[in-house]
Amino acid sequence: MMGTLDPTQVEPMVVDFLSERFELPRERLGSQTALRDLGLDSILMLDVMLDVEDRLGIKLRDLSMPPNPKVGDITALVQRNLAAGA
């Protein structure tokens, strides 16, 4: 459950998850890499969020992302929801 996850563990978890799910090399998944450049569109991103919810047993209430989001923005989104008591 999310309550036991340290916020610093979120970034490696997101990288692991994207790498496994889409067979993307980890070295491409820097926090400043644009999701668009990885081939991830907004619909697949939404699906990633659903998988994150399932994997962590949480509900992400705030799904807002900046335009042209980067890998680090997923991390920030999960951390933000964590802090809000997701």
């Binding site: 889409f22 067979e23 619909i43 697949l44 939404l46 699906d47």
Partner: protein, 413 residues
């Protein structure tokens, strides 16, 4: 009024139960080797003959692509790629709005849809995955092909049951002939061999049983002992071009499209009518400026149902004296949305490879289906100048397409 232009076929892509690619397709036709296999769903007590392509194509796509690609889209994308490679023209953006895509299908991404319905009812999931809607929609394969090949003019999805891809090819032909576009990818795809969909056909009592001696012989059009149709999966795409465009880029040319006829029965949702089929045949002949005796080969729709085959035989007898006829569904089954496209392609091969395909396993003809049958084995070394394909769909749409030899242009690369 624009001056009508000749339309030629310059590329073919095939994924079918009887071959991947045009050479494998011809190999099966030459030997009358059937692609009908045993399909089973033991959990539903189902055991049927089906035209299954025994290959998983998921490995052809990345994990980022696959969520959007139901198997139907996968087949369409791969067949379209093959056709464009065969034509030597992989992208079309340089043509701007003068390239089009005309695609036919009956059920689209039915496996994705059924998987979701099972999750909805059994697992009580409140929402589908975000991509599910786009993976199931009927025009998804057309959209994927247009995006990959940058087809920027009309991108249309036709659905008129078993005539879907025939009507698509016909409209592509007209659009080029009448000057609206110069190049088109046209064809169809179907991959609907799911238990629930097959059970719909089972409810209609239209499906063939498994032949007790050899499952590959289960589909027997025009035969006295036929037991019904055999459903299949596959995709076929053609590249069509104006003659001038093909010649200007030095393309190899398979044949010319001679004519297209479409007519509706206005009769019954599930029963064919001879008059509608006759009208489509006459319309295609008139469009091509040909007489019935000019046609050297007719690929019939004949699905091997008790009711359908005699109606079609009567239509063919009404229009033709003794045209050589076969139904190649005996070996490839019924590809539904890709049926017209594969059968027109077989008519093209009749011209290209100088042979007349046969109706396999036709030992004793049903007297109600009396025609000039090419039975059991093909006839080789026959020059075919004009070949025709007839399709008839549930709902009453009938399509006839004529392809014509053009020896002065053919295969010049």
């Amino acid at each position: 009024m624009r001056e009508p232009r000749d339309v030629v076929v310059t590329g073919i892509g095939v994924l079918s139960p009887i071959g991947i690619g045009v050479d494998e397709l011809f190999g099966h036709l030459r030997e009358n080797r059937s692609g009908i296999r045993l399909w089973e769903a033991p959990e539903h007590g189902m055991r049927l003959p089906a035209g299954v392509i025994e290959r998983d194509f998921a490995g052809e796509f990345s994990k980022l692509e696959l969520p959007y690609l139901d198997r139907c889209s996968q087949l369409a994308v791969l067949a379209a790629r093959q056709a464009t490679e065969d034509a030597g023209m992989q992208t079309f953006d340089h043509l701007g709005r003068r390239a089009g895509l005309y695609y036919g299908s009956v059920r689209g991404g039915v496996k994705t849809e059924h998987d979701w319905v099972l999750q909805f009812f059994n697992e009580h999931k409140p929402y589908a995955r975000p991509y599910t809607l786009m993976a199931c929609m009927l025009n998804a394969p057309a959209a994927h092909v247009s995006i990959r090949h940058q087809i920027l003019g009309p991108v249309n999805t036709h659905s008129s049951a078993c005539t879907s891809s025939g009507a698509a090819i016909g409209d592509a032909f007209r659009s080029i002939r009448d000057g609206y576009i110069d190049v088109a990818l046209a064809g169809g795809a179907e991959s609907a061999l799911t238990p629930a969909f097959l059970a719909c056909w089972g409810g209609l009592r239209a499906l063939a049983g498994v032949d007790p001696t050899d499952v590959s012989r289960s589909c027997r059009p025009f035969s006295k002992d036929r037991t019904g149709l055999v459903l299949s999966e596959g995709s076929v795409f053609l590249v069509l071009e104006s003659r001038a465009h093909a010649l200007a880029r030095g393309a190899k040319i398979y044949c010319r499209i001679g004519g297209y006829g479409i007519a509706s029965d206005g009769y019954h949702i599930g029963s064919p009518k001879t008059e509608g089929q006759v009208a489509a045949l006459h319309a295609a002949l008139a469009d091509a400026g040909l007489d019935a005796e000019d046609i050297d080969y007719l690929n019939a729709h004949a699905t091997a149902t008790a009711g359908g085959d005699p109606v079609e035989a009567q239509a063919i007898r009404t229009v033709f004296e003794r045209v050589p006829v076969s139904s190649t569904k005996a070996i490839h089954g019924h590809l539904l949305g890709a049926a017209s496209a594969i059968e027109m392609t077989i008519a093209i091969l009749a011209i290209d490879r100088s042979f007349i395909p046969a109706t396999a396993f036709l030992e004793e003809v049903d007297p109600a289906c009396d025609l000039n049958h090419v039975a059991k084995m093909p006839l080789f070394d026959r020059r075919v100048r004009h070949a025709m394909s007839l399709s008839a769909g549930f709902g009453g749409t009938n399509v006839a397409l004529i392809v014509s030899d053009c020896p002065d242009l053919r295969r010049k690369a």
